[in-house]
């Protein structure tokens, strides 16, 4: 009972504000200049990737009341960069992370519909929510949402945006110069939405875009996040790229689709994945250790411990032993503006485990952080990495991966040059783009076809 081989989907996450990005390497370029984005996008397109992915954070991260200065700081505006990248690429999908808490549906729908027109149908939206008043200090809306309202606003935001995308059907523009009829329908774009979070009505002013709606990504991992994805997303940007965790997540989420009348093909699971390539597996392992040391400076190691201890540890020597004081388990957290703080839900247990590890291996603070931190997802020769990626996809760990190189902008180049040809040889990755839109690349139906099928069935 051999199944046909699944085709792999690959995407490229621009390395920026992220603790895996190595900015101190001599090859590391600008994270702001457009030439870096253009280089990265052209590499991804040369390698026939499905899309490029941009993350977003709407307030600079802080720790101990000060702007966090050890990782890359600063990024450009997502929409503006993606629109410019549409000019230097022809096929590559353009995925932007856009917040549903500090935006309004009418404006975001206009921006995605415009991006879809300006890119010939290549836009995608990673819908995220914010939870903190900290970020809200930069916005009119201010304030924050209680945990339980985050997803209700996000769901209603997306549903409202879809109503706006669907308010034009695609046949309204006659542009009949002789007859003097520009619009066939004076009511084009009409919408009414009265809900808990949004009470809006009127006419949307961007005609139907090539993809109908942008491809929708969801990244949350909670129970609510998984349901939201199963009901409304086209793809999940997940963090489970290992064999066991990945398969469990994949099975869990795909099994939720049926109750929404959707098939397994309607939602792609695409975890973030890091990689280190070497000529041999041994060389790659050595390089991977070196990259980990670059990623975790002594100062970074101390700051990482502060997430758990939740107190100022600047007096400690990162090359020395772990602090002997206990963590502060109060409500106030030392770190703001990042998702990472939620990783350690039981700091006392974490500290106990870390002390045991450090004692057993004679590790310094920095050694501990390097050794307990996430190992790169794929480490090895191009042949090993290509084989592992294919094995994982065929084993339903995922439908592909969103690769996060650690060097800007050239970090994707070796993957494009050495790994992609091997995947192509195995017949599991495209050698040419077959369609023009991102939906084509991802094998997703146009929303109008979906609705047509549903009416018919």
């Amino acid at each position: 009972m051999s199944k046909p081989l699944k085709q792999i989907h690959l995407a490229a996450h621009f390395p920026g504000v992220n603790n895996t990005t190595v900015w101190s390497d001599p090859q590391a370029g600008s994270h702001i200049e457009f030439s870096s984005f253009a280089h990265f996008a052209r590499t991804a397109e040369r390698a026939k990737f499905d899309f490029l992915f941009l993350a977003e954070g709407l307030r600079l991260r802080e720790q101990g009341g000060q702007i966090y200065d050890l990782d890359v700081v600063g990024r450009p505006d997502t929409f503006t960069v993606l629109a410019a990248l549409a000019a230097v690429t022809e096929h590559l999908g353009l995925t932007g992370t856009i917040n549903s808490t500090f935006n309004e549906p009418y404006e975001v729908a206009r921006q995605f519909a415009s991006l879809d027109h300006l890119s010939g149908g290549r836009s995608a939206w990673n819908v995220v929510t914010s939870w903190d008043a900290f970020t809200g200090e930069n916005f009119r809306r201010g304030g924050f949402l209680p945990q339980e309202e985050r997803y209700s606003r996000a769901k209603e935001f997306l549903a409202t945006a879809n109503e706006l995308f669907d308010s034009w059907h695609g046949d309204e523009i006659a542009a009949d110069q002789a007859a003097g009829v520009f619009l066939r329908d004076a009511k084009a774009g009409s919408f009414v939405h009265a809900g808990q979070h949004f009470d809006i009505h009127g006419q949307f002013n961007v005609p139907r875009s090539p993809q109908g709606r942008p491809v929708v990504f969801q990244a949350g991992d909670s129970e609510e996040g998984r349901e939201f994805a199963a009901s409304s997303a086209d793809a999940i940007f997940s963090r489970y790229a290992s064999l066991e965790e990945g398969r469990a997540f994949y099975t869990d989420v795909k099994n939720r689709l049926a109750k929404y009348g959707r098939s397994h093909r309607d939602l792609l699971i695409l975890p973030a994945a890091t990689f280190v390539l070497g000529d041999t597996d041994t060389e790659a392992e050595e390089l991977a250790r070196e990259v980990r040391r670059q990623q975790v400076s002594g100062a970074t190691a101390l700051k990482h411990l502060e997430f758990v201890w939740n107190r100022d540890l600047s007096a400690y020597d990162p090359e020395g032993p772990l602090p002997d004081i206990d963590p502060d388990v109060g409500d106030e957290h030392i770190s703001q503006g990042r998702a990472q703080v939620r990783m350690y839900r039981d700091p006392l247990a974490t500290v106990r485990a870390w002390r045991e590890l450090a004692a057993a291996h004679d590790w310094s603070i920095r050694d501990l952080v390097i050794n307990t931190g996430n190992r790169q997802t794929f480490v090895g020769s191009p042949a090993t990495v290509a084989r592992t990626i294919n094995d994982f996809v065929q084993a339903d760990v995922s439908d592909g991966f969103i690769l996060v190189p650690h060097i800007t902008p050239g970090g994707l180049d070796p993957f494009a040059d050495k790994v992609v040809p091997l995947l192509q040889e195995q017949g599991v990755f495209r050698t040419e783009y077959e369609g023009t839109t991102l939906r084509d690349h991802l094998g997703l139906a146009h929303p109008d076809d979906v609705r047509g099928e549903r009416v018919a069935s």
Binding site: P76, E107, H117, A188, I200, H201
Partner: protein
């Protein structure tokens, strides 16, 4: 300062759909089916750059276009719908090298934090050619698209009453706060904040990043921006103004104001009003351009231009009326008019092509060579940034303590 002669004019073109005449889309050259494609906009901006223009502006709006100010008109015989102006400008940025790109942003309904980083990014993408044109919206139907506040019904006539003026004043004050936040955020990173100091592991010098701590009637914004200071330091801020309330916004916050005099006397009076407001705002020594806005029908002889206008008016079913003076004639006649108005203190013009496909090439291939012959327009781009083209120096950072 710029190397162009003092008598030299600045020229911009205002892009809006197929042109400013409501029947422009029915002309052979108009390409109305391409309006929602990148290629259409890329071609227009390339034509403007061929003519060495200082910049193009992109109109925008948060609702369907309407021939009535306060409500949708339900018409189907004119262009309706448009793409986001900032994204359109960014889409053409990598395809051009010299021309400034100035999209419209609506201060009334947008977040200054988002606008600031978007225009900063347009400046990074275009390596120093970005600006913005700030606009307010008093339209109730656009407010209804956001649902955050309701505006009572209003017509253009009602806006001229004292009650209408009070509403406008409030919206312009909010727009001034919006631009203030946008500008502070542009300065919230000093130019050399990124240090990449491997020895200490620090990517930035956080003493060179600044909270802006803006507190206003409509919003408070903490900062700093998430986007580093743009190449120009401060991208160019522009606004269209028809009377004293918006003149005050221009005087307080803009680098270029667009005004709509119908003759030389009006031009002189408007320039005097703006200069007085500029002094009152404490900016007396600063370079603030006042550009005249004109709708143009340009042909080889005046009769042809007038015929074309009459033909379009007949298609539209009514004579075309505009806030700006409508010029019909030849390149030489337009050059005469521009030089006459410049004599009253206007330093440049924003021309609104009646038909983009006809009047934009007429500007770049007819008017520009005519002005060049008179020594009144550049013969090559003399600067790499929009501020440079406009003779604006790169400003010091307000937060830097050198």
């Amino acid at each position: 300062m710029s190397s162009t002669p003092v008598s030299s004019l600045h020229l911009a073109v205002a892009l809006d759909g197929t042109g400013w005449h409501p029947a422009s889309w029915r002309e052979q050259v108009a390409r109305p089916r391409d309006l929602f494609t990148a290629g259409y906009w890329a071609d227009l901006v390339a034509e403007a750059e061929r003519g060495l223009l200082d910049f193009v502006t992109f109109e925008d709006g948060l609702g369907l276009q309407s021939s009535h100010y306060g409500e949708p008109d339900g018409r189907t015989d004119q262009v309706r719908g448009r793409l986001d102006a900032v994204l359109t400008a960014s889409r053409v940025a990598p395809l051009t090298r010299h021309i400034g790109l100035v999209p419209t942003v609506i201060a009334t309904h947008t977040e200054p934090f988002h606008i600031s980083k978007a225009i900063a990014t347009l400046d990074h993408v275009s390596t120093g050619r970005a600006g913005l044109r700030v606009q307010i919206s008093a339209r109730p139907y656009e407010a209804d698209h956001f649902g955050r506040r309701r505006f009572p019904p209003i017509s253009l006539e009602e806006l001229r009453t004292p009650a209408g003026q009070e509403r406008l004043t409030g919206l312009f004050d909010e727009a001034a706060d919006h631009v203030e936040v946008v500008r502070r955020l542009w300065d919230s990173w000093e130019d050399d904040a990124e240090i990449r100091d491997a020895a200490t592991g620090r990517f930035i010098d956080r003493d060179k990043l600044h909270y802006i701590d803006f507190q206003g009637k409509h919003f408070s914004v903490k900062g700093p921006s998430i986007t580093p200071r743009p190449p120009q330091g401060q991208p160019v801020v522009t606004a269209l103004a028809h009377q004293i309330v918006p003149y005050r916004l221009v005087a307080r916050q803009a680098d270029v104001g667009y005004v709509t005099p119908h003759d030389a006397g009006q031009a002189r009076a408007i320039v005097a009003e703006i200069r007085a407001e500029q002094e009152a705002a404490g900016r007396a020594g600063e370079l603030l351009h006042v550009f005249g806005d004109l709708v143009v029908f340009l042909d080889d002889d005046r009769a042809a231009a007038e015929d074309r206008r009459a033909r379009l008016d007949a298609l539209a079913g009514e004579p075309y009326d505009s806030d700006a003076r409508v010029f019909t004639g030849t390149s030489s006649q337009l050059a005469d008019l521009l030089q006459e108005l410049a004599g009253e203190g206007l330093s440049g013009f924003r021309l609104r092509p009646a038909v983009a496909g006809h009047d934009l090439p007429a500007i770049t291939r007819g008017l520009v060579p005519e002005l060049q012959r008179r020594g009144a327009f550049r013969t090559a781009y003399e600067a790499d940034t929009l501020r440079g083209l406009l003779g604006l120096t790169r400003p010091a950072n307000r937060y830097a303590t050198a």
